[in-house]
């Protein structure tokens, strides 16, 4: 074998071995499901699907809270999510067992929470969508103390519950048949 042929064989062998190693390394580095649907790991879709659900729905809350359900579902606030004011289902229930108590808003926290939606000062709110009030003008016109919190007159779950009842008693509104 001439020196030239030996060199040639070495070069060819090196290229073959290097390509082989490259293919093995590439196969090792590319995840299994990569390229199933496109230039990405298809398993990532399944992993995203496995993310834990933290919010339930009002149905999941009211299933146990029957007393609140009776009021909430009849009132104007029936479209409001329980979890917005009280916190997420996942912080309260795990595998059907109670794991923690959710906070209940108190006093001025309630007024702040109400005005988050019902403040007339924020001009962007259509009256067709939501009834808004100005504070403290609303308290003054209703002839109550300006220190009153909203829930002293309005039931937070059904805001017109007591108002309508009072109107019925005083004859300002017809009683429900």
């Amino acid at each position: 074998m001439s020196n030239y042929e030996f060199r040639l064989i070495v070069v060819v062998a090196t290229i073959v071995v290097a390509t082989g190693i490259a293919f093995v390394v590439k196969a090792q580095l590319i995840p299994d499901s990569f390229g199933k649907y496109g230039h990405y790991r298809a398993d990532a879709i399944d992993e995203e699907t496995q993310r834990p659900i933290r919010h339930g729905t009002n149905t999941s809350c009211l299933k146990c809270h029957a007393y609140e359900a009776a009021i909430h579902l009849k009132g104007r606030h029936k479209t409001i999510s329980c979890e917005f004011c009280h916190g997420t289902y996942a912080d309260h229930i795990n595998n059907g067992k109670k794991i923690g108590a959710l906070p209940v808003k108190k006093d001025t926290e309630i007024t702040t929470l109400c005005l988050r939606c019902h403040n007339t000062e924020i001009k962007a709110r259509s009256q067709a969508v939501i009834k808004t009030v100005a504070m403290p003008e609303h308290l003054e016109s209703q002839k109550v103390k300006v220190t009153h919190t909203c829930n002293q007159c309005h039931h937070v779950h059904a805001p017109l519950k007591y108002i309508n009842r009072a109107k019925q008693i005083t004859g300002l509104m017809e009683a429900e048949s």
Binding site: I53, H55, S60, Y89, I122
Partner: protein
């Protein structure tokens, strides 16, 4: 003085050999630890709470991933800027403070067509006070909820160098945080600023339209908590869904930055000209 030590042997062959060995070993070491990570945690079966189905035809049926198509509609005329959606989103994903997967902007325009936009804390605290810094007469004020537009022609997935973000066959633009190297190209590329780099995981993060909920027949968290129905989500393969009816109907729907040719699957109802 005579130099005692001979200089290292540095002919061309040795030099090339050393450089090649060094760079190949170095690069192999750099890329080898990629991937893996806490993938096992993610594969634990998630507990599906006993919640009634909200999007019919998904739970308990085979999910033909190529056949599905969804749309999101935001009705600006219904939005009252309460920020329920932002709160729900933060809670569903435990989004770090100062970062937002979805947010609500307040638009104010005056009679000179000047537009003022603000978004204190992404709308998380709601809008409790009016803006006091505008001295001219205000013509119109409204809220614009923003989230991922789920573009058909996605600028963000095109620039990803490692295939860590992609459009799934059912049209969701998702992230693979195991592959993401945190380079931030996608954040630069997104015309709607809906991506951010998570300061804890150092990977890019974005709104997924709550893909994990949708695949279990539930509405996205923001849609679920919206008290006025300003956010609507549904399947376009279901002719009884609200979004199907709206998209089929004569109402004027717009998309954000239409001229960019991104073809979003997020539509706006009642969006003024100024909304970008």
């Amino acid at each position: 003085m005579k130099i005692e030590q001979a200089p290292p042997k540095l002919d061309r062959r040795t030099f090339i050999k050393n450089v090649l060995t060094g760079s190949i070993t170095g690069s192999l070491l750099l890329i080898y630890p990629m991937g893996g990570g806490d993938a096992l945690d993610m594969l634990q079966p998630a507990t599906i709470p006993d919640i009634p189905v909200q999007i019919p035809g998904i739970r308990g049926e085979t999910y033909e991933i190529h056949e599905r198509k969804f749309a999101f509609i935001v009705d600006i005329t219904q939005c009252i800027g309460c920020g329920s959606c932002c709160v729900a989103d933060k809670r569903e994903y435990k989004v770090p403070d100062g970062y937002y997967r979805t947010w609500v902007e307040r638009y104010i325009k005056d009679f000179n067509d000047q537009v003022y936009v603000d978004c204190p804390n992404g709308g998380l605290d709601g809008y409790q006070t009016p803006r006091t810094d505008i001295e001219v007469q205000v013509r119109d004020t409204f809220f614009v909820p923003k989230l991922c537009n789920m573009c058909k022609e996605t600028p963000c997935t095109q620039v990803c160098p490692v295939g860590a973000t992609f459009t799934s066959p059912d049209g969701f633009v998702l992230m693979d945080s195991d592959r993401c190297v945190g380079c931030g190209y996608c954040i630069q590329a997104c015309p709607y600023s809906s991506r951010f780099l998570n300061p804890i995981t150092h990977t890019a993060e974005k709104c997924t339209w709550c893909y994990h909920r949708v695949r279990k027949g539930l509405l996205p968290a923001c849609v679920e908590v919206c008290p006025t129905g300003a956010r609507k989500f549904g399947s376009l393969r279901d002719e009884t869904s609200e979004v199907y009816k709206i998209l089929k109907g004569p109402g004027v729907l717009t998309v954000l930055k239409e001229s960019m040719g991104t073809w979003p699957a997020l539509y706006y109802l009642g969006a003024r000209l100024e909304v970008i």
